[in-house]
Point group: C2
Chain length 651, copies 2
């Protein structure tokens, strides 16, 4: 086996030709003052042959007017990228319109493939491949990073991850493609038009995770429109009849189940087209921050840091869980202060009836909304710190624990006051007012903090940079240096977490109390339309280009949205049961009222679960395509087995 | 590709040697008067080389004193069985204690493998392989079965399935191994002892599906013991304090969640040891009864019968669904008659207070229990007819629709009267009495109808057969003939459906109203202990040996049990809320009572779902083993890709 591998690896040596004229794809920024020997060792490992454990990529220092600045441009030959595409398991469309895992040997069967067509792989895919190859550059028998004895290495450790954690490597980021970006911007938000977003183009430029977020955002906005349209007359005509409210709430509850189920189908269609639905899961490496004592990993059999899962469980249940509970308690405490303030404002208004005092009525809500936002942000740092202290081995496990912590706190923080008003104070008027204030304030704050502020800062910075640069700009090469220097100062996009969280909370505002404030859906739709534009602006203008991340679904968020829609069944049923109109229907017995509400609630929940069960997660044609691929692979396996058996019998 | 296949297939020709002395494994019974040319063609196809599209098995007619009786014994050479084991994807234990998919080329790495060790594959595995090979014997270019022009064939159609549907093939069944069976019987129920069942031996003899049923039955019985033990003092001391009942019900609810989650883990441990947890799903062929117009199957690309799924949906929603609803209505109607009868008996007892009249009080319940059993059995036939008329393509889809139909009806039939008594009549005494009568009657009826009656019939028949045979018995070969003749008349075991259904309903009796009748668990435990013995008796003595069916879990039954445990949370909360003791706690406001009950119910449901989410489905060591296998296969794939890439570059 070992011999075979060696032979294989050596045959990669044809890639040795160093192309001096290459397209820079990824930028590596090393810390200022990094030792010469380290740089030499690192760049040598990047360009070294696969046979010697290198990544066989191309690397070039960036030369600016200030000389070499420890910034390196990484690229790769076309052939190298194709072989890399096979390694990461990219799925592309074949000439016969089926989706298949790309292999170099079967390259001719793929759509648009030609040996001289350098656009077969999108730039995002090329950058993803380079990132993958860099991260899989592993230590051989180095015990430490040359020049940095404190940065320990062991065989199999990812070099890039160690460089990152020891601060030698400042950042790695993919370069923007100015031409493509301009085209994308134009198609995406350049024209004032009503239409779908160019999801396929977004996917080509930013990768699947981000395209799927924008797909979800768009889908969700469309899905809210019926709720908004039905909600408007309730506001306009001030309908207060209970039967209309019951109808509205029932529609909302069933509708929210349907849209979440249908999203799974649309998601399957999108990711099938993009090839990620079929992409095999790669074996997950330990996340960069993971640390532990060197030991034998029972799964890989390699020597690598291991950390006892009992210790981790102890940290989770004895530290993180109590801390989260404490934060939840604190959040409830702040809420009670808000209600005191609210009461004080009301009293003040009663005493001195003036314009000022009636304005004062809104002050507590606004203050509370701002405080909530601040608390959310502070808690977020604490949650990140705690989750990283829990020392999860895998990025996915880290993400799940972080999301769970943040979701629970955000949920309570945003909705506790509304629950209190609804089910303790029984004040529907205050509920409606608070809901409106919270919803609108948080939307404005978010839009401002997330997109407009960074955009304005970035624009100011860019203008200053350009002014400084323009005067010295002489040739084509400097233009890349200019671009790199500008992009490396841009903020880093930290993933879709915050964007999904915002949608999740919005979904809560819309669905939890939908029968009290039908206008919520209208605001949500309006917000989402501008959100699409501001998020697009953010992606294209404010942040560094992020690496593409292949994904097949929106992951844990699907579960979060579904949980929210289950909770909203309960809240809406109770709200309807409490409304005076329904109350009046059961003049003799409150018991009958409560029992009826409970019965209806259970029926609705049962219908929800049955609907979720009955609606298939994938459309029929995707199911057939997947079954076809599975059938083919089983047939191929059968052939292979027969061949191997025949060979072994011949011996 | 086609050429390669041919080459491969031809190399199988070394298997041509016909061994005259072979172990008969499977019996094929053809209809009396089957045409000579059909028999000749069929047996030729069975023994024919793989290269010619045969199964390359061994076949021998059974010779009895009456001459040839159209019964054939099928066997295979040791080598053929090993190659077959690779085809069906059997997973066996390696010398290093890991579980791996068996391949002929890597045979030496497996535990206990030796070229002359014919016990490497268990007899059940050999029979499963032969069944698989026979079912995969496909028509080449025959248009019909020779001699039967009405039995149409098309290329790729399974010959055995067509022979079965056209009635030429009466049955295929595996032979018992008298020696092994005797040993198994002794270990299983031969000794009077308290201890675990020999699940591994059962699995070796009967296959995974049946072993898993017995494993579940045993586990479930053990899991019920705590409930039974806690339940006894309630009966003995006639405790009626509400707090004790609340504790009992709460314990039951959480306990039922825990046992269902823990079962998943135990199931994973068992099926990992048996290799079925790792076994790849085979591509599912159309079920025997499926019919349609010849067309192109979009998945396989083969010409085979296709049936529009729209038509099937119409049949399901326009015929089956209304029919099931009608049956449910009828069942409720019968229930109302039962309550009239019950009332009549009560009146009668009041008028003439005698021993006879007090006995009469039990008559309606007993009659109703018997009627329920009869209705269940009749409905079962109707459901089977309807589901088969719906013309499902796959056996799994057929099974799911059948199970759903039968479950819903059985649930209503068995529990509707109890729900009526509990939540309409509010008569807890009657509920307790009905529950006891229904539970005990159905248990006695089941034990009698399922095991004892067939056992007695079979024993009588065997005695008669033996008497007739013994006088003519001359040599060793005739003893196999005797065995075949005896076994072919035995009943056919129709799968674990009825056994699971019985457990499911029992679980319902125990959990739905557990706080009213704590003794139910005691009866369930007692019943299950005898059930283990009577089911074992049934498997070993009454029925033909069934073919082994590999399976990794108990499938849809897990979902059914979980649904039942969710429903039981609701019913128990209501029952506790209705009890006079709890009622007395809220003397002022019935409202508070209802609201408290609703709150507790929702909390319990939330705890249930969180527990189900938090408890991992597989124990940690199994997770590590699975991850290790996945890692190895990904590594192997990477090596293979590099090899292929290197090869293609050399060209």
């Amino acid at each position: 086996m070992a011999e075979k591998t060696k032979e294989v690896v050596e045959s990669w040596s044809f890639l040795d030709t160093v192309e001096s004229n290459f397209t820079p794809l990824v930028v590596i920024e090393l810390a200022k003052g990094t030792k010469e020997e380290t740089i030499e060792w690192f760049t040598k490992r990047i360009v070294d042959k696969k046979a010697n454990g290198g990544a066989q990529l191309l690397v070039k220092p960036l030369v600016t007017e200030n000389g070499v600045e420890n910034i390196y441009l990484v690229g790769a030959s076309h052939l190298r990228l194709l072989l890399g595409a096979e390694t990461v398991g990219l799925v592309k469309e074949c000439s016969d319109k089926s989706m298949r895992t790309f292999t170099y040997s079967s390259r001719k069967t793929f759509k648009d493939f030609a040996d001289d067509n350098h656009n077969f792989l999108t730039m995002a895919e090329c950058q993803y491949i380079i990132k993958h190859e860099l991260e899989n550059l592993r230590a051989k028998n180095e015990k430490m990073i040359p020049g940095y004895p404190q940065a320990k290495l062991y065989p199999g450790k990812s070099i890039v991850r160690r460089l990152l954690t020891s601060g030698i490597l400042v950042q790695i980021f993919p370069l923007h493609d100015r031409e493509e970006l301009k085209k994308l911007r134009h198609r995406w938000y350049g024209r004032v038009k009503v239409g779908y977003q160019p999801l396929d183009d977004i996917r080509c430029y930013f990768g699947e995770t981000i395209a799927l977020y924008f797909g979800f955002l768009e889908y969700f906005t469309f899905a809210l429109i019926p709720m908004a349209v039905i909600g408007i007359p309730y506001y306009v005509f001030a309908w207060e009849d209970y039967d209309k409210y019951v109808m509205f709430a029932t529609f909302n509850l069933l509708w929210s189940t349907v849209i979440l189920e249908v999203w799974k189908r649309i998601c399957a269609i999108l990711t099938y087209r993009w090839g990620t639905l079929l992409m095999k899961r790669q074996f997950e490496e330990p996340r960069p921050g993971f640390h532990g004592v060197l030991g034998i990993n029972p799964v890989t059999g390699r020597e690598e840091p291991v950390y006892s899962s009992v210790k981790r469980q102890l940290r989770i249940y004895l530290v993180s869980l109590p801390f989260v509970c404490l934060c939840l308690y604190f959040s409830l405490y702040v809420m009670m202060i808000y209600f005191d303030l609210e009461q004080w404002a009301l009293d003040y208004h009663k005493e001195n009836e003036s314009n000022f005092s009636s304005l004062m009525l809104y002050v507590p809500s606004i203050i509370y909304a701002v405080v909530i936002e601040i608390m959310n942000r502070i808690y977020r740092y604490a949650a990140e710190f705690l989750t990283s202290w829990e020392n999860h081995r895998l990025e996915s496990s880290y993400q799940n624990h972080l999301i769970l912590k943040v979701l629970v706190f955000n949920f309570l923080n945003c909705f506790a006051s509304l629950f209190y008003i609804a089910f303790v104070l029984f004040d529907m008027k205050l509920l409606r007012q608070s809901l409106a204030t919270l919803l609108i304030t948080s939307q404005i704050l978010n839009q401002f903090a997330e997109s407009l502020l960074p955009y304005w800062l970035q624009k100011r910075y860019n203008r200053r940079m350009k002014k400084r640069m323009c005067s010295q700009k002489t040739d084509r090469d400097l233009s890349i240096a200019e671009q790199v220097n500008m992009e490396k100062e841009m903020g880093t996009y930290l993933g879709t977490f915050d964007d999904y969280l915002e949608l999740f909370l919005q979904f809560g505002y819309v669905s939890l109390f939908s029968c009290v404030y039908p206008l919520a859906a209208v605001f949500a739709v309006l917000n989402n339309i501008t959100e699409i534009y501001s998020d697009a602006l953010k992606m294209c203008r404010v942040y560094k280009r992020p690496f593409a991340e292949p994904t097949a679904n929106i992951g844990v968020w699907q579960l979060a949205f579904e949980t929210m829609s289950v909770i909203s069944v309960v809240t809406n049923c109770i709200l309807i049961g409490m409304s005076p109109q329904v109350d009046a229907l059961f003049p003799d017995s409150k018991m009958d009222l409560v029992l009826t509400v409970a019965l209806v609630e259970h029926l609705l929940l049962a219908i929800k679960f049955i609907m979720a069960f009955v609606i298939p997660d994938k459309p029929r044609d995707i199911q057939v395509k997947l079954a076809k691929l599975e059938f083919e692979s089983l047939e191929a396996l059968k052939q292979q087995q027969m061949k191997l058996a025949a060979e072994s019998l011949k011996e």
